[in-house]
């Protein structure tokens, strides 16, 4: 091998090596894009809801009202017969089997949607009104184009008869899409078209607030102690080793801690944001202390010396000068720690937040789910409607995380002083 050949070979190796690096970086970036694209393409349709327009005959004789017609008596009335009669008129049915198929075009809550409309507009009684009623999940998915129509009937969730009605309704322009406010206002449900993340949103909110209240002050005080006051001795070393190890303990172990101590020994209420918040704050604590200490450490000693030289006590130096200067760093560390806690799932599953909760929690001691747990729960469901709901939940979750991380970066860049 001549000198030139050897040199060429070495340069080729150089190029190859650089190429490997470039490929690796691109692979990682491409994966982020695939993931985001996949979630968005699946989830974006969840933000709309298919509605079927039905002419409802608000015939007061079918309601069996007692006494005068007012909001209270309407609230107690049974709208089932009235609803069924109006819904069955959208298409001729031969027998009760076909009637059942017609009713299955609508979400099981049609009765209440019809009722709510009348309660809001009591003057419409004894009139025929066009009301938009939420379609069932199958029709919803069909309308969004997620069900292939060319399968044989027995492999489809929608029968031929229902397809005919659907086409007929489309022709008459009775089918419409509107913004899915149920997604944000309703709790969990067994029917995808009625399921929403309202409950888990509140659950996550309470959890994060409790986590913040507990972990932020303790983390700041602990890092101030360790960075500014702690004497160099065995106890301090032991605390530091503990913090570093706790930051790397798998999150599921904190779930076992919550289950073993908070639930079974201290008998806190199960499935509640309170327990979730305490468990997550134990988990986040070391993860906040580490960046807090780093930002305290970054404040140059000259600041401390200047304060001490004009007669400030050690405490005045720390609390009047060092801590305010370190604040941007500590705040952004806290926000990033909380963002991690917001996405945490495994410990919450162990402390029982996987319960099926329909009601939206109004306080931290009500049973509830949280956003990531909702993702887990819905991903186990078979219906196609839950896949788009899950993706939409993930979009919300990622949205929150992006906002929190942006705030953290902004705080750091805008307010943190650069010491040279």
């Amino acid at each position: 091998m001549t000198k030139e050949q050897r040199l060429k070979k070495r340069y080729r190796a150089e190029k190859r090596f650089k190429m490997y690096g470039l490929i690796s970086v691109s692979l990682a970036v491409i994966f982020v894009l695939i993931l985001v694209q996949n979630i968005f393409s699946k989830g974006s349709s969840a933000f709309s809801r298919t509605m079927i327009e039905v002419a409802v005959n608000y015939d007061s004789s079918l309601l069996e009202l007692e006494g005068p017609i007012n909001q209270n008596s309407l609230k107690d009335a049974d709208f089932y017969d009235l609803a069924v009669e109006s819904l069955l008129k959208i298409y001729p049915a031969k027998d009760s089997k076909e009637e059942r198929q017609i009713l299955r075009l609508f979400s099981p809550d049609y009765e209440f949607e019809i009722k709510d409309f009348l309660i809001k507009n009591p003057n419409k009684i004894d009139q025929i009104v066009l009301v938009k009623i939420t379609a069932s999940d199958d029709i919803d998915q069909l309308n969004k184009g997620n069900f292939p129509r060319d399968l044989p009937e027995d492999r489809r969730r929608v029968s031929n008869y229902q397809l005919n009605i659907y086409d007929n309704l489309i022709e008459k322009e009775k089918i419409d899409k509107k913004f899915n406010n149920y997604l944000f206002t309703k709790g969990d449900s067994r029917d995808p078209e009625l399921a929403g993340i309202g409950g888990s949103l509140m659950g996550s909110f309470f959890t994060i607030i409790i986590c913040l209240i507990l972990s932020f002050p303790i983390a700041i005080m602990a890092s101030i102690y360790l960075e500014e006051f702690a004497p160099k001795n065995k106890i301090t070393d032991f605390i530091e080793i503990n913090i570093n190890n706790l930051a790397a303990v798998p999150s599921i172990v904190y779930g076992l801690l919550g289950l073993g101590i908070l639930l079974s020994v201290m008998e806190f209420p199960r499935s509640t944001p309170l327990v979730a918040g305490i468990t997550l704050s134990l988990m986040t604590l070391p993860r906040i202390i580490i960046p807090c200490r780093a930002s305290l450490k970054a404040v140059p000693p000259s600041i401390r010396e200047a304060a001490l030289s004009v007669g400030a006590s050690k405490f005045q130096t720390v609390f009047h000068h060092v801590v305010p200067l370190a604040m941007p760093g500590t705040l952004s560390g806290t926000i990033i720690g909380l963002a991690q806690a917001l996405g945490e799932t495994a410990p919450l599953i162990l402390i029982g937040m996987v319960a099926f909760v329909v009601d939206i929690p109004s306080s931290p001691v009500d049973p509830s789910a949280s956003l990531p747990v909702q993702v887990y729960l819905w991903s186990e469901q078979a219906e196609r409607g839950f896949v788009e709901k899950t993706s939409a939940t993930i979009m919300m979750l990622l949205g929150f995380l992006i906002v929190m991380n942006f705030i953290a970066v902004y705080l750091r860049q805008k307010f943190e002083k650069k010491w040279n």
């Binding site: 340069y11 970086v25 982020v32 002050p217 172990v253 076992l256």
Partner: protein
């Protein structure tokens, strides 16, 4: 009631701050020289007012329910299921009990209401006494013109120290809760059967009443908790993950540290770090609903039978999750290798890649190994990806296309839903948790030591 008491204490704290400050100012106007700023007298009074009362209040609220429970149950020694009875009494007392109301429940709830009233009243009295006592004590001290600043600083220092002890308490809590249940587990199941047994089927212990396990049943249970398949599955999936993460992560780290222009670095580094910020449940969803089915259809087109919960899908996605941990740590480590080493290598005519391979990486090796160890500990502790994408059945296999299960998956599967606390099945989850805790602890300890040693070398 509780929030009212807490509110009163807080309002008193706040007002005593202003009171103490104005008292101190009055002393200043009388030309008495104070040894601290007036605000410190405010803090002093406020701390003395709040702390004792809050501590008493907190302890009381924490222990009251348990003490009342013991007091009531002592009156009904003949009841068998005491916890259930107490629950029924409480719900009867709160007026939402549906079921058969026995005389005992009635008697117990009458007892409960009387004890509750006594407890409430005595709580208020004791807290009020504490408030008044500590306030007058502190007020006297102010009048005697003490060194308020020093005292306040001592109290604060104690507070700071206590909050740093929370880390130790958490560790102790983890160890106690894991050890306690694990020891109970190992008292029924032989520890060697647990570590070396090769069949895992905890559902066999499901229906048994734990307090009444007969010796035959115990013998039968012995080989239901062999956790070798779980260890193997965990290691296998972690291995697949590392096969993905180590090359990609390491090469990304090298590229970003050595080759990338500042512009490329500025944009691609945060994008890669997004991977670390995505919640694991999202990866799990992606692995279970997109990657798993994709592998299955792809495998079918090649004539292979691929389980839709294959170890490959879970491992692959876990590897992607771990990429940023390796890339950013190795990036840091490579950056901290002194420039003089590189320049020496260039000076004798080495190309850039040769310098990296022969000089930079050997110098950075301990740090890189540390980052890989940390990544391994992440991989074995990762839960949601494997819960959603890997299988539930424990098979001992090395075929990546089959489904395997992991330690974390089994913990979740055992503990999800209703648990009966004395069953060996539940305790098995804690024993698995203990194994996981110890394994990750060892890995983290070694990794942190290695990284720290390395940092000291070049700092």
């Amino acid at each position: 009631m509780n929030s009212l008491i807490a509110g009163v204490i807080l309002i008193l704290c706040l007002s005593s701050y202003f009171f103490g400050r104005s008292e101190a100012r009055k002393l200043v106007t009388q030309n008495i020289k104070l040894k601290a700023l007036p605000a410190y007298y405010g803090y002093y009074l406020s701390l003395w007012c709040g702390l004792p009362a809050l501590i008493i209040f907190g302890c009381w609220s924490l222990f009251e329910p348990a003490i009342i429970k013991v007091l009531i149950l002592n009156n009904f020694p003949q009841i068998e299921s005491k916890d259930l009875f107490y629950e029924q009494t409480l719900s009867f007392f709160n007026g939402n009990f549906s079921g058969e109301i026995t005389n005992e429940i009635k008697a117990a709830s009458i007892k409960y209401s009387s004890i509750n009233i006594i407890a409430q009243n005595s709580k208020i009295v004791i807290i009020a006494a504490a408030l008044i006592g500590s306030l007058t004590f502190a007020y006297r001290k102010i009048q005697n013109n003490n060194k308020a600043r020093d005292d306040v600083e001592i109290i604060l220092k104690v507070l700071l120290f206590t909050s740093s002890l929370v880390a130790i308490l958490t560790t102790v809590g983890i160890i106690v809760s894991l050890l306690f249940e694990s020891l109970k587990f190992f008292s029924t199941i032989n520890i060697f059967e647990f570590i070396f047994g090769t069949s895992w089927s905890p559902q066999r212990a499901f229906v048994r009443d734990a307090s009444a396990i007969t010796p035959e049943e115990l013998l039968e249970l012995q080989d239901a908790f062999g956790s070798v398949p779980l260890f193997a599955g965990t290691a296998f999936i972690a291995l697949i993950a590392m096969c993905v993460a180590v090359p990609i992560g390491l090469f990304s780290g090298i590229y970003l540290a050595e080759y990338a222009s500042t512009k490329v670095r500025k944009y691609s580094k945060p994008i890669i770090e997004i991977l670390a910020g995505i919640p694991t449940v999202v990866y799990g969803f992606f692995a279970a609903l997109t990657v798993g089915p994709f592998f299955r259809t792809f495998g079918e087109s090649l004539g292979l039978t691929v389980s839709s919960e294959s170890a490959l899908a879970a491992g692959l996605i876990m590897g992607v999750m771990i990429i940023p941990y390796i890339s950013s740590l190795s990036d840091d480590v490579i950056n901290s290798v002194p420039q003089s080493l590189r320049e020496g290598s260039y000076a004798i005519g080495a190309t850039k890649s040769e310098t990296i391979k022969k000089v930079v990486i050997p110098a950075a090796l301990p740090g890189i190994i540390g980052s890989i160890l940390l990544a391994v500990s992440r991989a074995i502790g990762e839960t949601m990806i494997v819960v959603m994408a890997a299988g539930l059945a424990a098979n001992l296999t090395i075929n990546p296309l089959e489904s395997t299960t992991t330690i974390t998956t089994q913990i979740v599967m055992i503990l999800v839903g209703d648990q009966e606390f004395d069953s060996p099945k539940t305790q098995a989850a804690f024993a698995l948790g203990l194994t996981l805790f110890i394994a990750t602890l060892i890995l983290n300890y070694i990794a942190l030591r290695v990284v720290k040693k390395y940092r000291e070398k070049y700092d």
